[in-house]
């Protein structure tokens, strides 16, 4: 392989390393960004859904309280209870499909089932004592499990952020490693250029100078099979020819 090709290949290799490392770094960073974005999105979604569930339960709670205290037994409260029940169910299903915290969602589901079984006991005879003694417990249970769900998702975000804070350097690790490898290759490249190109040229110059000035035999060893070796061979041939030609002169 010629010098030109060797040097070109050396630069291309370093270029390829930096280029591919750059691409992989970008992919890693975008994966990292996606993961962070997804987590933040889920966190936001969980707040929204938890709010919807809490609103629905709150509404049902108010409607139930009004229906118990209302002596006229207006049907409007029943429809409010049914509507809020439907709202809750919708929010719960959204949580099930989008947020992956099966344990906490199951806890909400169980609390809601119990809550529903209590609400279904409501009749014209139910009074405020039932409301405070029986109903309130199931209500608090349900709202507590919803809040717990919200806290858990938030806690996960906090943990992730803390991890990010601790390992901030990790985000740039790929770049640092690629840079380190690039510097290492450049050092090796410099060494190779010195050792296999510049060194032999200096040796040939020194050998030639020695021959010209002091007639020291031209003995230079070049290990590579490239233009420098060819140059050395030609110089040696030239010197031999010069030696032969000299007596005639």
């Amino acid at each position: 392989m010629g010098i030109k090709h060797k040097i070109r290949l050396g630069f291309i290799t370093i270029g390829i390393l930096l280029f591919l490392s750059g691409i992989i770094s970008s992919l890693e960073l975008s994966r990292f960004n996606r993961a962070t974005h997804n987590l933040l999105e889920k966190s936001q979604q969980s707040i929204e859904i938890s709010k919807q569930m809490l609103d629905a339960v709150q509404e049902q709670n108010t409607a139930l309280l009004l229906s118990i205290t209302d002596t006229l037994h207006s049907a409007v409260y029943d429809s409010l209870i049914v509507k809020s029940d439907r709202d809750f169910d919708r929010a719960y299903r959204t949580a099930q499909s989008g947020l992956h915290d099966p344990v906490q969602l199951e806890a909400i589901g169980t609390a809601f089932q119990y809550y529903n079984s209590i609400v279904s006991q409501v009749s014209d005879s139910t009074d405020i004592v039932w409301f405070t003694d029986v109903y309130k417990t199931s209500y608090y249970n349900l709202t507590h499990s919803i809040k717990e769900f919200m806290v858990r998702i938030q806690q996960r975000t906090i943990d992730y952020t803390a991890q990010l804070e601790r390992n901030a350097y990790r985000a740039s690790m790929v770049g640092i490693i690629a840079l380190g490898a690039g510097i290492l290759l450049l050092m090796v490249f410099y060494f190779m250029l010195n050792n296999y190109f510049i060194g032999p040229v200096l040796q040939i110059t020194k050998g030639l100078k020695g021959y010209v000035n002091s007639r020291i035999p031209f003995e230079v060893a070049v290990s590579t099979q490239d233009e420098i070796n060819t140059l050395k061979e030609y110089i040696a041939t030239l010197i031999t020819a010069h030696k032969k030609a000299k007596p005639q002169a």
């Binding site: 992989i24 490898a181 290759l185």
Partner: protein, 481 residues
């Protein structure tokens, strides 16, 4: 010194590492492109380019001096550890810079000590890479380079003398080319056999292959937090015990035995001593476990006793039970096993059974000499008369081992570690066993140790792997003419 040529050969070893990184990346890819894929792919690219780069400039040169071959061995090991930590570093998790270096060094030196508290959290590709570092290190990074090189002659001999213990080389009685073939055939053959047998007894292919890598390389990395204990299977333990025992035997002897040659394992004095020392150790450990009521059943005591003794003595370091609360007698015997280890010519570390037997014979000869001052007493091992130089070299190596163990223990205790942990961690690293006792017992992680302790233990692993002198030479290159 021809530094360019040294860089070229180290580059070839890096290419081998790159090949295993690529396989690991492919495993990640076929495992649903798990989180290990990009770290392994990038590591492969970096390692392959660094490995291939010197090939552009440096012409092939087969004439290597001993000095150059020693530098190649040490540089290849250090560079392998350095580039081997890249996948861990990029992946993150529990791998800080120190932890990644420790894990990588522990892998390539076949020590098997881990900083991970949750091994199972690693993606499959990285688990494979961990096991592969054992496998590459086990056969000797440089030995691989010699095999893949088309060149022949003096160079190979000088490289292999740095790689293997000199006593191992004496025992081979084959040409260098044949030695390399034997090592590869035995090593690959044992790995394949164990993988197939483990699969036959119910292990899945991935665990079977990675555990075989660890066993044959006498490493100890497992894919499970509970190591071999995870499988709760006597059959699996028996299979692994058998392969650990065989992997601790001189590879040339295994080959000779399989080929029905005269100088087989049954005729080897050292092999008999090695097996006998394992038997005696197992009996003492099992009896101690029974007497201390760790196990009430004789068979149970024997089951765990034999596995742990073989695991420590062959420098593998697998766990089939938690030995943190074992009685002092059992611990002392296990510590002896950690120091003596298996036979030269295997991938095991430590002082080696060959040297222990030789020193015992030297002691006997000395006593005889005192009784009969005019007698000419020759020390023979495996039918060959051992020169004084060989005996002295063995004694010197044991002395350096003990001195290093002392220095290591003192330094670790200075880092506020208790004496048991410090001493056993030091000798377990020097002998490339992995686990010790105390805070570094067989199911514990090295993660909680101080950072400085991890660096020191990594250095001891390299020191032990290169049988001390290989490493010492590097610091005395100027005086080496």
């Amino acid at each position: 010194m021809k530094l360019g040529v040294v860089i070229r050969y180290v580059g070839l070893v890096m290419l081998l590492n790159a090949a295993f990184m690529l396989i690991s990346a492919l495993i990640s890819l076929f495992n649903g492109m798990d989180t290990g894929f990009y770290p392994l792919l990038l590591s492969f690219l970096i390692t392959a380019i660094i490995g291939a780069f010197p090939l552009i400039f440096v012409p092939n040169d087969n004439n290597l001096s001993n000095k150059e071959s020693y530098v190649i061995v040490v540089m290849a090991w250090v560079m392998s550890c350095l580039l081997g930590m890249v996948p861990y570093l990029i992946w993150g998790g529990e791998f800080t810079f120190t932890n990644a270096w420790f894990e990588s060094t522990s892998g390539f030196t076949t020590t098997g000590a881990t900083i991970l508290s949750d091994v199972e959290a690693l993606p499959k590709g990285l688990l494979f890479w961990r096991a592969a570092t054992h496998w590459i290190g086990g056969v000797g990074v440089v030995l691989f380079a010699i095999v893949i090189l088309p060149s022949m002659g003096r160079m190979k001999m000088s490289l292999s003398s740095a790689e293997m213990s000199m006593m191992a080389k004496d025992n081979f009685r084959y040409t260098t080319k044949k030695i390399l073939q034997i090592i590869i055939v035995v090593y690959v053959g044992l790995t394949l056999c164990e993988t197939l047998v483990l699969m036959a007894v119910g292990m899945d292919w991935f665990d079977a292959l990675t555990n075989s890598f660890s066993t044959v390389a006498t490493g100890g990395f497992s894919t499970k937090n509970l190591s071999i204990m995870y499988y709760h299977s006597v059959t699996i333990e028996m299979v692994i015990t058998f392969f650990m025992l065989v992997s601790g035997i001189h590879m040339g002897l295994i080959y000779a035995t399989l080929r029905g040659k005269h100088n087989n394992v049954f005729r080897s004095e050292v092999a008999r001593f090695y097996v006998l020392s394992l038997l005696v150790s197992t009996l003492i450990v099992s009896a101690s476990l029974l007497m201390n009521h760790n196990y009430t059943n004789v068979w149970e005591a024997l089951r765990y006793g034999v596995f742990q003794v073989v695991s420590y003595a062959t420098t593998t370091g697998f766990a089939s039970t938690d030995n943190a609360l074992w009685p002092p007698l059992a611990m002392i015997v296990m510590i002896y096993c950690t120091i003596q280890c298996a036979m030269a010519g295997s991938s095991a570390g430590g002082v080696k059974a060959d040297r222990v037997l030789l020193i015992l014979k030297a002691i006997k000869a000395r006593v005889l000499k005192l009784q009969h001052p005019n007698a000419v007493i020759r020390i023979k091992q495996n039918g060959l008369t051992q020169e004084d130089g060989v005996v002295n070299a063995a004694i010197l190596l044991v002395m350096i081992y003990l001195l290093t163990a002392l220095v290591g223990t003192v330094l670790l205790t200075a880092m506020n570690l208790d004496l048991l942990t410090s001493f056993t961690a030091t000798i377990a690293s020097l002998s490339n066993v992995g686990p010790g006792f105390g805070k570094v017992s067989n199911l514990a992680s090295f993660g909680p140790l101080p950072e400085a302790a991890k660096w020191l233990l990594s250095l001891l692993m390299l020191f032990g792997r290169l049988e001390f002198f290989g490493f010492i030479h590097i610091f005395m290159l100027r005086s080496w003419k």
